[in-house]
């Protein structure tokens, strides 16, 4: 047993000093504007760690959509283009065509990608555009205060579905990862979550698979990350990870959906997933 990281037996005699940097080198500011309990910073961190751990990445351009996560544009030490709501895949297309050597990825929420920008993401995938789109899916418009999106699951309470999403009245959620996996232009498609440590690590692994797919020129790659929204879910923050795992995760099922352009069978997708 090594010595404890922090002894609480007595008040410290010396001011605390940092012995090593725990955050990614590509993180510019350790402060962010996300709520405590939000899953988005975990996902953003995994993107930066994935880039750092892949020496074959020689350049990178991130394209961020509009949502809570837009602020990450300022904290990633990677060239970034801020897009309009829903339009990030188109900007990524133009950027990649002009800078084919750079890893080009988008960072979008479910409102951005699946509501406002559904056409853009589907056509970009169908074109087999050699970019990686990353979806932070929390099933609500978090920034506006928890409103229903196209991925809100049946029964989920939001600001404009106070009694829970009713399929007959509000319609059904779109399983965007599954939809993209149907398209021939998509090479790698996966869905992960950040509700527990295993999911966070799995998220990074999937991001690295997607980035490797892009570097190999295999076509469109897509990683959907299920994230908690402590302000938009109308449940205690501490219950968020459990809600994600049991309710959201039973609809948006995690696992790899497509690899090397081939669909992964449902049984095969359970590895690392549910």
């Amino acid at each position: 047993m090594s010595r404890p990281i922090l002894s609480t037996d007595a008040p410290p005699r010396e001011p605390a000093t940092r012995t090593h940097r725990a955050s990614p080198e590509l993180l510019l500011a350790e402060q962010h504007h996300m709520c405590p309990g939000c899953g988005e910073p975990l996902a953003a961190r995994m993107i930066l760690e994935a880039i750092e751990e892949m020496p074959e990445i020689e350049g990178a351009i991130g394209v961020v959509g509009i949502g809570c996560y837009t602020g990450f544009a300022m904290s990633m030490d990677v060239d970034t283009i801020q897009a309009l709501h829903g339009r990030a895949p188109s900007l990524a297309t133009g950027a990649k065509r002009m800078r084919s050597d750079a890893l080009v990825f988008t960072l979008q929420g479910d409102g951005d990608m699946v509501n406002e920008g559904l056409q853009e993401i589907l056509h970009t995938a169908a074109r087999g555009e050699n970019v990686t789109c990353v979806l932070l899916n929390n099933g609500v418009f978090g920034e506006t205060g928890g409103h229903m999106t196209a991925t809100t699951v049946i029964g989920q309470r939001t600001k404009n579905s106070l009694d829970g999403r009713d399929a007959a009245y509000h319609g059904h959620p779109i399983l965007i990862g599954d939809l993209i996996a149907c398209l021939d232009g998509a090479s790698y498609v996966a869905r992960s979550s950040v509700h527990d440590a295993k999911g966070v690590i799995r998220t990074k692994q999937m991001l690295k698979e997607a980035f490797a797919s892009q570097l190999a020129g295999a076509g469109f790659s897509f990683v959907e990350v299920l994230t908690m929204c402590p302000t938009g879910w109308f449940i205690p923050t501490a219950e968020g990870p459990g809600y994600l795992d049991e309710v959201m995760g039973s609809v948006h099922v995690t696992g790899e959906l497509k690899r090397d352009g081939k669909r992964v069978s449902p049984s095969g997708s359970s590895a690392g997933g549910r």
């Binding site: 300022m74 309009l84 133009g94």
Partner: protein
């Protein structure tokens, strides 16, 4: 190269490529479609890319992404398609991304769209309105220069006749003054040491530590727009020194009006003309000075009366301002109406000189 007979849309695309345009995205729509076709043919041969986008929204987004990496990029449509792109135009202006936009319009009904725009917030876009293909070749290249110089979108305004008339031309690259280095672009280089860049419409930057100051940012853009307005007005004046009546017209309408004015001058009738080449910034000073000398201004535009507002703002009460154009289109819906006729324009000018009113 020597001159050859070339269609307007091909000349415009060739001028774009000569100016270094390496990315184009568009969605087909008459009468713009052939501009897209020619870029699709020419760009791959020049090491560039042309994408037939799934919508105008995606076309402008793709061009935005390309321009944000430092490439010279363009998109376009007619006014109908540009209506869909308005949100991006205002954002691009705030993100200070140099994008060139072609409007091969169906007539001249898009003057307000071009000069005011339908996007959100405070923003201004430069616009250049060539009178013929020779000028279109020059102004297309100037558009790329101005876009980079001011880091601002620039619209080139044409129409069915500009895009589809053949003229004898030699498309040559033009020389412009050196431009500042593009040290702001998101080119993807991993510079390390907090050297990354952010192309944002929100006034944010990587060095801001996560804070932005929107008021300071918007005031800076406002100062830039005022500087553009003060320095980039372009126009052509003819016969204004002794004119009793000054005609104001732009683009194809001006080409027909110019013929009428040359005929009237040959007959000793003292008519002059001011032709705005930039619609924004509007050449207010040139119009005002010519109006003050003549005391009488006739605006010939092929719409229900749009540019006449800018003429009145320039002239105020210093001269009488009347409209002598009007809606003029044909069964094709492409704005090639019977007012594009030098004889009819001449008669309208003569009636105006006699003090008669022209029915819209």
């Amino acid at each position: 190269m020597t001159a050859r007979l070339i269609e307007g849309s091909e000349a415009i695309a060739a001028a774009g490529v000569a100016a270094g345009c390496r990315f184009f995205a568009g969605y087909p729509m008459t009468p713009f479609t052939e501009v897209l076709e020619h870029f699709a043919t020419m760009l791959p041969a020049s090491g560039g890319t042309c994408i037939n986008a799934e919508s105008e929204l995606e076309a402008v987004g793709m061009a935005w992404g390309a321009a944000a990496t430092g490439a010279r990029a363009a998109t376009g449509s007619c006014g109908q398609g540009l209506a869909l792109m308005q949100e991006s135009f205002s954002e691009l202006t705030r993100a200070e991304v140099p994008l060139v936009i072609f409007n091969m319009a169906r007539g001249q009904g898009d003057y307000f769209q071009t000069t005011r725009g339908g996007g959100h917030g405070d923003y201004r876009i430069l616009s250049l309105a060539p009178i013929d293909l020779g000028e279109a070749v020059e102004l297309t290249q100037l558009a790329f220069d101005l876009a980079d110089r001011w880091r601002n979108p620039v619209i080139v305004v044409g129409d069915y006749l500009l895009a589809h008339t053949h003229e004898s031309l030699d498309v040559r690259p033009l020389d412009f003054a050196p431009l500042p280095a593009k040290d702001w672009v998101a080119d993807g280089e991993l510079r390390g040491a907090k050297g990354s860049r952010l192309v944002s419409s929100l006034g944010m930057d990587k060095q801001g530590g996560g804070e932005s100051d929107p008021e300071r940012f918007w005031k800076r853009l406002d100062r830039k727009a005022r500087e553009i307005a003060a320095t980039e007005q372009r126009w052509e004046s003819s016969f204004t020194d002794d004119a009793e009546l000054v005609v104001v017209a732009y683009g194809t309408a001006a080409r027909f009006a110019r013929s009428a004015i040359h005929e009237l001058r040959a007959d000793g009738i003292r008519v002059g003309m001011v032709r705005p080449i930039t619609l924004w910034p509007f050449p207010s000073q040139a119009v005002r000075e010519a109006a003050e000398r003549a005391g009488h201004v006739a605006v010939f535009e092929l719409n229900a009366g749009q540019m006449v507002d800018d003429v009145r703002l320039a002239v105020l009460e210093r001269a009488r301002v009347v409209s002598i154009g009007g809606i003029s289109t044909d069964a094709s819906h492409f704005g090639v109406g019977d007012l594009l006729d030098a004889d009819r324009i001449r008669k309208r000018i003569e009636r105006t000189l006699r003090g008669e009113e022209i029915e819209p």
